[in-house]
């Protein structure tokens, strides 16, 4: 828990075209931007006057590789929104550039801002009044009250599992070290440097692997798992194609994956979607008939979001009804297509089965209703309650940042071992690794560790 370090966040809504803004606030803002920005004239930002817009490039500090061309400005506190030094980086819009820049800013020392944290600081530093502050409270508490939305849960879930495995190894190391420190006289084997080296090498390569996949956008792609079902010729592939067209960051299949469910990764207004079993839609256009109700059930279980497409020009069939009844309490969107034709479907019949699930009428042929579908998707994910629309993206960046810090800490442990520093210094690095990873899984150290020790070591007198 920090209260006056330097924070950064994406200030624009994600996925929008045009311009993206990354904002940094805190006493180190200018120091940080100087590490990663160079103007066209080859100068640092701090060499320019404040409140001027400067054109230049964001560079990856180690390689000097250009990340993006940007317009950058800085403002000195206290005459800023947060009353701290603020830097704003205007870059190309879209998920990828802003994400890359935010990642870089975090890597050189900023911390990802919590929802509402800029406003919170503005308040704590005396910039805004009480009434405005009430809104901040709502914002902060919304985050805890609500429990994360589906996409976040999904995203965190899969990464969490992997991270937890690495943390288990670290726990084992910590346990061994701790026992040999705190129970020096007990009958337990002294932890050897070889053991630590082996384990830490393993952990380092595990974290490196996680980061590599994060780098290729894997984490980002692990979005909302979505299935589209419907009868043949109802318009599933039209919908898919339309969504793909709309998607601003198309990511292709993971190469070399051999699984029977093929996924397509889309990004709708900043929300990553995994369309499951798109092959079925593409090739046969009759997912229900081909795979049957049983398979639909399985798919539904996999899915975070179900899109059921119905043909408005036909009456509800038994198949339709069965599929609809399978939805249960899952998040689902019912699309009634072909509003351009004479409507035979009875909306009430659908409602009777699915309750208050959102029903949208569209005509994909006439390209009517696509916006509503997209907006509804966004609304469903965020439920309109989380104001910070970039939570997903930030979560990604945050996780990656945590992984990077974990990697750095585990590398430090190698240095410590090489320098022949005593065991308890090596332990500091291992604990830091563990803690950085804990930011992803949200666990605390101390009790876990003691429980682990007492369970696994025969100690005590």
């Amino acid at each position: 828990m920090f209260i006056d370090d330097t924070i950064a966040a994406i200030a624009t809504a994600p996925g929008e075209a045009g311009i993206g803004i990354v904002r940094i606030s805190g006493e180190k803002s200018i120091e940080l931007i100087d590490k990663i920005f160079v103007s066209k004239q080859g100068k640092k930002l701090s060499e320019y006057k404040p409140r001027r817009i400067t054109y230049g490039y964001i560079l990856e500090p180690k390689s000097d590789k250009r990340i993006d061309e940007v317009l950058v400005s800085y403002m000195k506190g206290p005459n800023t929104y947060t009353r701290e030094d603020i830097v704003e980086i205007n870059c190309h819009g879209g998920m990828i550039p802003v994400k890359n820049i935010l990642e870089l800013v975090l890597r050189v020392g900023a911390r990802a801002a919590e929802p509402g944290e800029f406003t919170k600081r503005a308040f704590l530093n005396g910039r805004i009044d009480l009434a405005q502050a009430e809104a901040v409270m709502d914002l902060i508490s919304a985050k805890t009250e609500k429990g994360f939305d589906v996409a976040l849960d999904q995203l965190e879930g899969s990464l969490s599992k992997k991270v937890s495995k690495v943390r288990k190894k670290l726990m084992d190391m910590l346990g061994h070290i701790q026992v040999s420190i705190d129970f020096a006289e007990d009958d337990v084997d002294e932890v050897t440097i070889d053991f630590l080296c082996d384990k830490r090498n393993e952990v380092e390569s595990d974290i490196q692997k996680l980061l590599d996949t994060a780098d290729t956008g894997k984490i980002l792609r692990e979005g909302l798992s979505t299935v589209i079902v419907g009868k043949p010729n109802v318009g599933k592939s039209s919908l898919l194609n339309a969504l793909v067209r709309e998607s601003r960051a198309i990511v292709t299949d993971v190469p070399g994956t051999t699984r029977d469910v093929i996924e397509e990764h889309l990004n709708i207004k900043g929300i990553p979607l995994n369309l499951v079993d798109t092959a079925g839609i593409r090739e046969t256009e009759d997912i229900v008939e081909k795979i049957g109700v049983q398979r639909s059930k399985e798919l539904f279980n996999l899915a975070d979001l179900i899109i059921v497409m119905l043909d408005g020009s036909k009456e509800l069939t038994e198949d339709d009804k069965e599929i609809l009844s399978l939805i249960g309490r899952k998040k689902a969107l019912i699309i009634i297509n072909k509003t351009d034709l004479t409507q035979k479907i009875n909306r009430k019949d659908v409602e009777k089965i699915v309750g208050d699930k959102k029903i949208i009428k569209v005509s994909l042929i006439e390209e009517k209703g696509l916006d509503e579908i997209e907006d509804t998707l966004v609304e469903m994910v965020y439920k309109g309650e989380i104001k910070a629309k970039d939570s997903l993206l930030v979560t990604n960046v945050r996780h990656k940042n945590a992984l990077e810090r974990a990697l750095e800490a585990i590398k430090d442990s190698e240095k410590a071992i090489k320098q022949k520093l005593p065991l308890d210094f090596v332990e500091v690095d291992i604990k830091n690794t563990w803690e950085a990873l804990g930011e992803i899984t949200g666990d605390t150290v101390e009790e876990d560790l003691l429980d682990h020790i007492f369970k696994n070591f025969c100690i005590g007198k």
């Binding site: 828990m1 919170k120 704590l124 508490s141 805890t144 009250e145 520093l421 308890d424």
Partner: protein, 629 residues
């Protein structure tokens, strides 16, 4: 019972164990009239379990108690019979001093110190009642009707409250070592709203030295160079007593397994919680059944006795079985038990009812310390005793309480853990509990805390001057090492001899000392102008501070962050139900603990970072509202 007014004191200390002794001495030394009530004067500073002071984490506590002007370090320096520094192959932060104590002399020396202490009365008597009026403690009454009135009362009752001893099927109400239990006070405390719970601990058998075959055991001698506990002692040289190491056998394990049903703990007699780090031998054998043998230490209980402590062999099995078990251990084939092992159950308080000052939240001026607070260990008790004594006095004077935070001392970690997180088992100090371990070393306890002890008035001039001398000499020496440069010509032969790689340009001694293979001693030849008189541990300090600078700096930065939240104070009468945005669980926890700072709040389980944000915003709102008014 006819009660009579037996006198008025500033501070009443109930109990004369390690917590009680430190509490009473601190209060009296700070100039306040103090009485110490104990069930028997013969059990002052008794060591009813292990004949040992210190150990990992615990050794740190003793050093800190000493730096603040407490007594434990001085007393053990007078009475130890063996001293060892543990963990010397590990970093300086986890070096831990452990001594064997002569139990009888430890008691006698402490009793002498108490008897000679100005402002302090020692009185034998069992406290059976506590007088509370208007949520404020007024005094205590003894079993014989004496009523002592006090501005403050410190409860340091150890394991005596409703204590019950278990040996197999046999159990009876008793204190440790056959002393009386205190059967009345517990109920009175419940009546004034204290939430009591029941913990358990145990002690192994004592065996006659003449019946032990030491030739079959490994000897364990003390260190040649003795490091004293107290900063006031530099060189201690005594004839040390050895300890002995032996092992259990398959036969031992068989006897235990066959008789497990007769163990008080496995047979169901005991339901309370014991410490996981002090498992009974039957517990070890059940839980780690693959281990064919466990190590057993034989430790002397003192110079004037033949009783030997059988460490690692605590049990609640019947005495009959204990004899068989013991005799199956290598070297104990003919052992004769002098005192059997037993488990003991006792009442203690849920420490989350305490403030960080160790005052009980709902009863003004009532403090508590030691095992009564759910801790275990002599050192943990003494540390709390000292703090409670100091704070009782500060309360009388109307001054701010003395609270050490987690970045300042193990004592701070200990008390913060107890009052913030509570504990489900008797709490023992461990180095792993301290997040800023690298700066909380036993070698710098004096540097960390002497100033504070001086400000309170517990550290006297002599010690303070000595501290200033040490502090200055370290600072000067580090400066000198930074400014002393050596050339490759003069340095290379010497540092290569020490196993280090040669240098190509001039280096300061400070830089050279950062190399792991170079030490203050082995570069002596390079260092012509080394000051003659430098305290031994000042050298150690320089070396540690130079060698581990990088890690220590990192930790100091973390401490800066930590302090920011620690310095955001929360008022005791804050009603968390009235703060919008806090989750329900957080509200309940916060209302229960009533943290003194946002930092403390952040360590309560069930309070999330978002709740902390809400608290910060709330504090700012309140501050501004006040400003407007």
């Amino acid at each position: 019972m006819i009660r009579y007014d037996a006198g008025q004191y500033d501070v009443i200390v109930v109990g004369a164990g390690h917590a009680g002794c430190e509490a009473a001495l601190a209060a009296a030394r700070m100039g306040h009239s103090t009485i110490m009530l104990t069930m028997t004067l013969d059990s002052i500073a008794m060591l009813p379990c292990n004949p040992s002071i210190g150990g990992t984490g615990k050794g740190h506590l003793v050093k800190e108690i000493d730096a603040l002007g407490g007594e434990m370090g001085l007393n053990i320096d007078k009475t130890f019979i063996q001293s060892r520094m543990l963990n010397t192959r590990k970093g300086p932060a986890v070096h831990s001093l452990r001594t064997q104590a002569d139990k009888t002399r430890y008691h006698i020396e402490m009793k002498k110190t108490l008897e000679n202490q100005e402002n302090l009365d020692l009185v034998e008597g069992e406290v059976v009642d506590i007088i509370v009026e208007n949520d404020t403690v007024k005094g205590v009454a003894t079993r014989t009707g004496s009523v002592y009135y006090g501005k403050t009362v410190i409860l340091a009752t150890g394991v005596y409250l409703k204590s019950k001893i278990f040996m197999g099927e046999v159990n009876y109400e008793s204190g440790p070592n056959g002393l009386f239990p205190a059967m009345y006070l517990s109920e009175k405390l419940k009546a004034v709203g204290c939430n009591m719970r029941r913990f358990k601990t145990g002690t192994p058998a004592r065996v006659n030295k003449d019946t032990i075959d030491f030739s079959k055991m490994d000897i364990q001698n003390g260190d040649k160079d003795i490091v004293p506990f107290s900063f006031m002692n530099e060189n201690l040289d005594i004839e040390q007593e050895p300890c002995w190491l032996t092992r259990t056998t398959e036969e031992t394990h068989k006897i235990i397994s066959d008789n497990l049903h007769r163990s008080a703990m496995y047979g169901g007699g005991i339901e309370s919680t014991g410490p996981r780090y002090c498992p009974s031998i039957e517990d070890k054998i059940v839980r780690f059944s693959d281990k064919p043998s466990h190590q057993i230490f034989i430790e002397p209980e003192g110079l004037e006795t033949k009783e030997m402590y059988i460490q690692g062999f605590s049990t609640s099995l019947p005495v009959e079985i204990q004899v068989k078990m013991l005799r199956s251990v290598i070297g104990l084939e003919n052992a004769k038990i002098m005192r059997p092992a037993y488990a003991i159950e006792y009442d203690c308080i849920d420490p989350t009812q305490l403030k960080p000052s160790l005052e009980i939240k709902h009863i003004n001026n009532l403090f508590s310390a030691g095992q009564f607070n759910g801790s275990s260990g002599y050192e943990e008790a003494a540390a709390q005793g000292l703090i409670s004594g100091i704070n009782a006095v500060l309360k009388i004077r109307g001054e701010e309480p003395f609270i050490l935070n987690r970045s300042e001392a193990y004592i701070g970690v200990l008390i913060d853990d107890l009052v913030t997180k509570g504990t489900n088992e008797p709490y023992r100090m461990m180095t792993s509990r301290a997040e800023y371990r690298l700066v909380l070393r036993q070698d710098n306890a004096d540097l960390r805390l002497t100033e504070k002890g001086y400000n309170i008035g517990l550290v006297k001039e002599e010690r303070y001057k000595r501290y200033l001398l040490k502090k200055d000499s370290i600072e000067n020496e580090i400066k000198r090492l930074k400014n002393t440069n050596v050339s490759p010509e003069t340095a290379n032969t010497i540092i290569e001899r020490a196993g280090s790689t040669s240098i190509k340009a001039g280096f300061s001694l400070y830089e050279l000392l950062k190399r792991p293979e170079l030490t203050y001693e082995n570069i002596k030849e390079l260092d012509k102008n080394r000051p003659e008189i430098l305290l031994k541990d000042a050298k150690t300090q320089c070396e540690v501070m130079i060698k581990y600078e990088g890690y220590i700096e990192k930790q100091l930065k973390q401490i800066d962050q930590f302090k920011k939240l620690e310095n955001k104070k929360l008022s005791e009468d804050l009603d968390y139900d009235k703060i919008d945005g806090l989750r329900i669980e957080a509200r309940q926890k916060l209302n229960n603990i009533k943290p003194v700072s946002v930092g403390q709040a952040s360590r309560i389980s069930g309070v999330s970072p978002a709740d902390i944000s809400v608290l910060l915003v709330y504090l700012e709102q309140k501050r501004r509202k006040k400003k407007v008014e």
